[in-house]
Subunit: 151 residues, 2 copies
Protein backbone atom coordinates (compact mmCIF):
# COMPACT_ATOMS: atom_id res chain seq x y z
CA UNK A 1 0.00 0.00 0.00
CA UNK A 2 1.26 3.52 -0.76
CA UNK A 3 2.14 5.62 2.32
CA UNK A 4 -0.78 8.02 1.90
CA UNK A 5 -3.33 5.27 1.39
CA UNK A 6 -1.82 3.45 4.34
CA UNK A 7 -2.16 6.54 6.53
CA UNK A 8 -5.80 6.98 5.50
CA UNK A 9 -6.60 3.36 6.36
CA UNK A 10 -4.78 3.71 9.66
CA UNK A 11 -6.69 6.89 10.51
CA UNK A 12 -9.97 5.16 9.66
CA UNK A 13 -8.94 2.39 12.07
CA UNK A 14 -8.30 4.94 14.82
CA UNK A 15 -11.59 6.62 13.92
CA UNK A 16 -13.51 3.38 14.39
CA UNK A 17 -11.79 2.90 17.72
CA UNK A 18 -12.57 6.47 18.79
CA UNK A 19 -16.23 6.00 17.80
CA UNK A 20 -16.57 3.11 20.25
CA UNK A 21 -14.91 5.13 23.00
CA UNK A 22 -17.16 8.12 22.32
CA UNK A 23 -20.29 6.03 22.74
CA UNK A 24 -19.76 6.53 26.48
CA UNK A 25 -20.71 9.89 28.01
CA UNK A 26 -17.86 12.34 28.62
CA UNK A 27 -18.40 12.04 32.41
CA UNK A 28 -18.24 8.24 32.31
CA UNK A 29 -15.13 8.29 30.15
CA UNK A 30 -13.48 10.71 32.61
CA UNK A 31 -14.43 8.64 35.65
CA UNK A 32 -13.14 5.44 34.05
CA UNK A 33 -9.94 7.16 32.97
CA UNK A 34 -9.08 8.50 36.41
CA UNK A 35 -10.09 5.22 38.10
CA UNK A 36 -7.88 3.28 35.69
CA UNK A 37 -4.89 5.50 36.44
CA UNK A 38 -5.49 5.40 40.21
CA UNK A 39 -5.89 1.63 40.12
CA UNK A 40 -2.55 1.29 38.30
CA UNK A 41 -0.97 3.55 40.94
CA UNK A 42 -2.32 1.23 43.64
CA UNK A 43 -0.77 -1.77 41.90
CA UNK A 44 2.74 -0.30 41.90
CA UNK A 45 2.46 1.15 45.40
CA UNK A 46 1.36 -2.36 46.41
CA UNK A 47 4.51 -3.89 44.90
CA UNK A 48 6.65 -1.43 46.85
CA UNK A 49 4.66 -1.77 50.08
CA UNK A 50 5.04 -5.57 49.89
CA UNK A 51 8.81 -5.15 49.80
CA UNK A 52 8.74 -2.55 52.59
CA UNK A 53 6.71 -4.90 54.79
CA UNK A 54 8.90 -7.90 54.01
CA UNK A 55 6.14 -9.81 52.20
CA UNK A 56 8.38 -10.09 49.16
CA UNK A 57 12.17 -9.74 48.92
CA UNK A 58 13.64 -6.37 48.04
CA UNK A 59 14.74 -6.36 44.42
CA UNK A 60 16.32 -3.14 43.21
CA UNK A 61 15.26 -3.40 39.54
CA UNK A 62 11.64 -4.25 40.36
CA UNK A 63 11.52 -1.50 42.98
CA UNK A 64 12.91 1.17 40.65
CA UNK A 65 10.58 0.03 37.87
CA UNK A 66 7.44 0.23 40.03
CA UNK A 67 8.54 3.52 41.61
CA UNK A 68 9.18 4.99 38.16
CA UNK A 69 5.78 3.84 36.87
CA UNK A 70 4.11 5.23 40.00
CA UNK A 71 5.92 8.53 39.56
CA UNK A 72 4.72 8.71 35.95
CA UNK A 73 1.17 7.71 36.88
CA UNK A 74 0.69 10.35 39.58
CA UNK A 75 1.03 13.01 36.86
CA UNK A 76 -1.83 11.53 34.83
CA UNK A 77 -5.20 11.52 36.64
CA UNK A 78 -5.87 15.27 36.28
CA UNK A 79 -7.48 15.11 32.84
CA UNK A 80 -10.17 12.92 34.37
CA UNK A 81 -11.42 15.57 36.81
CA UNK A 82 -12.70 18.07 34.26
CA UNK A 83 -15.88 20.14 34.63
CA UNK A 84 -19.10 18.14 34.99
CA UNK A 85 -17.37 14.89 35.87
CA UNK A 86 -18.49 14.79 39.52
CA UNK A 87 -20.89 11.95 38.70
CA UNK A 88 -21.98 9.71 35.86
CA UNK A 89 -23.70 6.41 35.23
CA UNK A 90 -20.66 4.58 36.64
CA UNK A 91 -19.86 4.74 40.35
CA UNK A 92 -17.28 7.21 41.57
CA UNK A 93 -15.90 7.79 45.04
CA UNK A 94 -14.66 11.27 44.15
CA UNK A 95 -16.13 13.85 46.54
CA UNK A 96 -17.66 17.10 45.30
CA UNK A 97 -15.03 18.84 47.47
CA UNK A 98 -12.52 18.27 44.65
CA UNK A 99 -14.20 20.85 42.48
CA UNK A 100 -15.07 23.11 45.43
CA UNK A 101 -11.47 23.30 46.62
CA UNK A 102 -9.47 22.63 43.49
CA UNK A 103 -6.43 24.51 44.84
CA UNK A 104 -6.15 22.11 47.78
CA UNK A 105 -6.62 19.09 45.49
CA UNK A 106 -3.92 20.40 43.17
CA UNK A 107 -1.61 21.04 46.14
CA UNK A 108 -1.94 17.38 47.16
CA UNK A 109 -1.09 16.44 43.59
CA UNK A 110 2.12 18.45 43.64
CA UNK A 111 3.05 17.04 47.03
CA UNK A 112 2.57 13.43 45.98
CA UNK A 113 4.66 14.01 42.85
CA UNK A 114 7.46 15.31 45.09
CA UNK A 115 7.19 12.16 47.24
CA UNK A 116 7.22 9.75 44.28
CA UNK A 117 10.26 11.53 42.81
CA UNK A 118 12.06 10.80 46.11
CA UNK A 119 10.68 7.27 46.03
CA UNK A 120 12.33 6.54 42.67
CA UNK A 121 15.69 7.48 44.16
CA UNK A 122 15.07 5.60 47.43
CA UNK A 123 13.92 2.47 45.57
CA UNK A 124 17.33 2.25 43.94
CA UNK A 125 19.24 2.82 47.19
CA UNK A 126 18.33 0.04 49.62
CA UNK A 127 15.45 -1.51 51.54
CA UNK A 128 15.68 0.93 54.44
CA UNK A 129 15.49 3.93 52.13
CA UNK A 130 12.58 2.28 50.31
CA UNK A 131 10.69 1.72 53.58
CA UNK A 132 10.90 5.40 54.53
CA UNK A 133 9.88 6.63 51.10
CA UNK A 134 7.01 4.16 50.70
CA UNK A 135 5.69 5.26 54.07
CA UNK A 136 5.89 8.93 53.11
CA UNK A 137 4.21 8.31 49.75
CA UNK A 138 1.46 6.17 51.28
CA UNK A 139 0.77 8.81 53.90
CA UNK A 140 0.45 11.41 51.15
CA UNK A 141 -1.95 9.20 49.17
CA UNK A 142 -4.11 8.64 52.23
CA UNK A 143 -4.19 12.31 53.20
CA UNK A 144 -5.75 13.15 49.86
CA UNK A 145 -8.10 10.15 49.94
CA UNK A 146 -9.32 11.15 53.41
CA UNK A 147 -10.30 14.60 52.16
CA UNK A 148 -11.43 13.87 48.63
CA UNK A 149 -12.58 10.25 48.35
CA UNK A 150 -15.54 8.60 50.05
CA UNK A 151 -14.84 5.52 52.19
Amino acid sequence: MKPVASAIVALAVVGAYAAVVHAQTPADRSIKYRQGVMSAQGWHLGVLASMAKGDRPYDRDTAVRSATFLDQLVAMPWDGYGPNTESGSVNTRAKAEIWKDWAKFEKYGKEVKAETAKLVSAAGTDLNALKGAVGATGKQCNGCHDDFRTK
Copy 2:
Protein backbone atom coordinates in the same frame (compact mmCIF):
# COMPACT_ATOMS: atom_id res chain seq x y z
CA MET B 1 6.07 12.87 65.81
CA LYS B 2 9.59 11.42 65.72
CA PRO B 3 10.73 10.20 62.28
CA VAL B 4 10.70 6.49 63.22
CA ALA B 5 7.24 6.66 64.81
CA SER B 6 6.07 8.61 61.79
CA ALA B 7 7.43 5.95 59.43
CA ILE B 8 5.69 3.19 61.39
CA VAL B 9 2.37 5.04 61.27
CA ALA B 10 2.84 5.65 57.57
CA LEU B 11 3.62 1.99 56.91
CA ALA B 12 0.53 0.99 58.88
CA VAL B 13 -1.45 3.33 56.63
CA VAL B 14 -0.01 1.65 53.53
CA GLY B 15 -0.70 -1.72 55.13
CA ALA B 16 -4.37 -0.91 55.65
CA TYR B 17 -4.57 0.22 52.03
CA ALA B 18 -2.83 -2.94 50.80
CA ALA B 19 -5.24 -5.08 52.87
CA VAL B 20 -8.20 -3.63 50.97
CA VAL B 21 -6.47 -4.23 47.64
CA HIS B 22 -5.58 -7.80 48.59
CA ALA B 23 -9.22 -8.63 49.37
CA GLN B 24 -9.55 -9.10 45.58
CA THR B 25 -8.20 -12.28 44.00
CA PRO B 26 -4.79 -12.02 42.30
CA ALA B 27 -6.43 -12.68 38.91
CA ASP B 28 -9.04 -9.95 39.42
CA ARG B 29 -6.39 -7.48 40.54
CA SER B 30 -4.33 -8.28 37.45
CA ILE B 31 -7.28 -7.93 35.10
CA LYS B 32 -8.29 -4.60 36.65
CA TYR B 33 -4.71 -3.37 36.54
CA ARG B 34 -4.19 -4.10 32.85
CA GLN B 35 -7.67 -2.78 31.95
CA GLY B 36 -6.96 0.44 33.84
CA VAL B 37 -3.70 0.95 32.00
CA MET B 38 -5.23 0.11 28.60
CA SER B 39 -8.15 2.43 29.27
CA ALA B 40 -5.74 5.27 30.07
CA GLN B 41 -3.89 4.52 26.82
CA GLY B 42 -7.19 4.81 24.97
CA TRP B 43 -7.84 8.20 26.54
CA HIS B 44 -4.57 9.70 25.33
CA LEU B 45 -4.72 8.08 21.91
CA GLY B 46 -8.22 9.56 21.73
CA VAL B 47 -6.88 13.06 22.44
CA LEU B 48 -4.31 12.66 19.65
CA ALA B 49 -6.75 11.06 17.21
CA SER B 50 -9.17 13.97 17.75
CA MET B 51 -6.45 16.39 16.70
CA ALA B 52 -5.44 14.19 13.76
CA LYS B 53 -9.04 14.08 12.53
CA GLY B 54 -9.57 17.81 13.04
CA ASP B 55 -12.18 17.37 15.77
CA ARG B 56 -10.07 19.55 18.05
CA PRO B 57 -7.34 22.04 17.17
CA TYR B 58 -3.74 20.89 17.14
CA ASP B 59 -2.01 22.14 20.25
CA ARG B 60 1.65 21.22 20.55
CA ASP B 61 1.86 21.10 24.36
CA THR B 62 -1.28 18.99 24.74
CA ALA B 63 -0.16 16.68 21.93
CA VAL B 64 3.31 16.14 23.41
CA ARG B 65 1.82 15.60 26.86
CA SER B 66 -0.65 12.94 25.70
CA ALA B 67 1.95 11.27 23.46
CA THR B 68 4.40 11.14 26.38
CA PHE B 69 1.78 9.69 28.72
CA LEU B 70 0.82 7.13 26.06
CA ASP B 71 4.48 6.22 25.53
CA GLN B 72 4.87 5.69 29.29
CA LEU B 73 1.62 3.72 29.56
CA VAL B 74 2.43 1.22 26.79
CA ALA B 75 5.33 -0.01 28.94
CA MET B 76 3.04 -0.79 31.87
CA PRO B 77 0.37 -3.42 31.13
CA TRP B 78 2.74 -6.44 31.19
CA ASP B 79 2.59 -7.05 34.94
CA GLY B 80 -1.13 -7.64 34.56
CA TYR B 81 -0.74 -10.66 32.26
CA GLY B 82 0.98 -12.99 34.74
CA PRO B 83 0.32 -16.73 35.03
CA ASN B 84 -3.27 -17.71 35.86
CA THR B 85 -4.74 -14.35 34.95
CA GLU B 86 -6.59 -15.55 31.82
CA SER B 87 -9.91 -15.20 33.65
CA GLY B 88 -11.37 -14.07 36.95
CA SER B 89 -14.65 -12.97 38.44
CA VAL B 90 -14.43 -9.71 36.47
CA ASN B 91 -14.86 -9.71 32.70
CA THR B 92 -11.81 -9.73 30.48
CA ARG B 93 -11.51 -9.56 26.72
CA ALA B 94 -7.99 -10.97 26.77
CA LYS B 95 -7.77 -14.09 24.59
CA ALA B 96 -6.06 -17.27 25.81
CA GLU B 97 -3.76 -16.85 22.77
CA ILE B 98 -1.77 -14.29 24.78
CA TRP B 99 -0.36 -17.01 27.02
CA LYS B 100 -0.15 -19.55 24.17
CA ASP B 101 1.93 -17.26 21.99
CA TRP B 102 3.64 -14.96 24.47
CA ALA B 103 6.54 -14.27 22.07
CA LYS B 104 4.14 -12.77 19.51
CA PHE B 105 2.35 -10.76 22.20
CA GLU B 106 5.67 -9.43 23.45
CA LYS B 107 6.75 -8.59 19.90
CA TYR B 108 3.62 -6.44 19.47
CA GLY B 109 4.52 -4.74 22.74
CA LYS B 110 7.98 -3.81 21.52
CA GLU B 111 6.58 -2.62 18.20
CA VAL B 112 3.98 -0.35 19.79
CA LYS B 113 6.63 1.15 22.09
CA ALA B 114 8.69 1.97 18.99
CA GLU B 115 5.65 3.67 17.43
CA THR B 116 4.80 5.71 20.53
CA ALA B 117 8.42 6.86 20.83
CA LYS B 118 8.11 8.23 17.26
CA LEU B 119 4.71 9.67 18.19
CA VAL B 120 6.20 11.78 20.99
CA SER B 121 8.60 13.35 18.50
CA ALA B 122 5.92 13.77 15.81
CA ALA B 123 3.47 15.34 18.28
CA GLY B 124 5.95 18.14 18.88
CA THR B 125 6.64 18.70 15.19
CA ASP B 126 3.37 19.65 13.48
CA LEU B 127 -0.11 18.42 12.68
CA ASN B 128 0.95 16.53 9.56
CA ALA B 129 3.63 14.62 11.43
CA LEU B 130 1.13 13.90 14.19
CA LYS B 131 -1.41 12.52 11.70
CA GLY B 132 1.05 10.03 10.30
CA ALA B 133 2.30 8.89 13.68
CA VAL B 134 -1.18 8.60 15.20
CA GLY B 135 -2.20 6.46 12.23
CA ALA B 136 0.82 4.21 12.64
CA THR B 137 0.27 3.86 16.38
CA GLY B 138 -3.45 3.18 16.00
CA LYS B 139 -2.73 0.53 13.37
CA GLN B 140 -0.29 -1.14 15.74
CA CYS B 141 -2.84 -1.10 18.60
CA ASN B 142 -5.48 -2.63 16.39
CA GLY B 143 -3.20 -5.35 15.02
CA CYS B 144 -2.62 -6.61 18.54
CA HIS B 145 -6.28 -6.24 19.53
CA ASP B 146 -7.34 -8.23 16.45
CA ASP B 147 -5.14 -11.15 17.49
CA PHE B 148 -5.37 -11.02 21.26
CA ARG B 149 -8.60 -9.31 22.31
CA THR B 150 -12.16 -10.51 21.77
CA LYS B 151 -14.52 -8.16 19.91
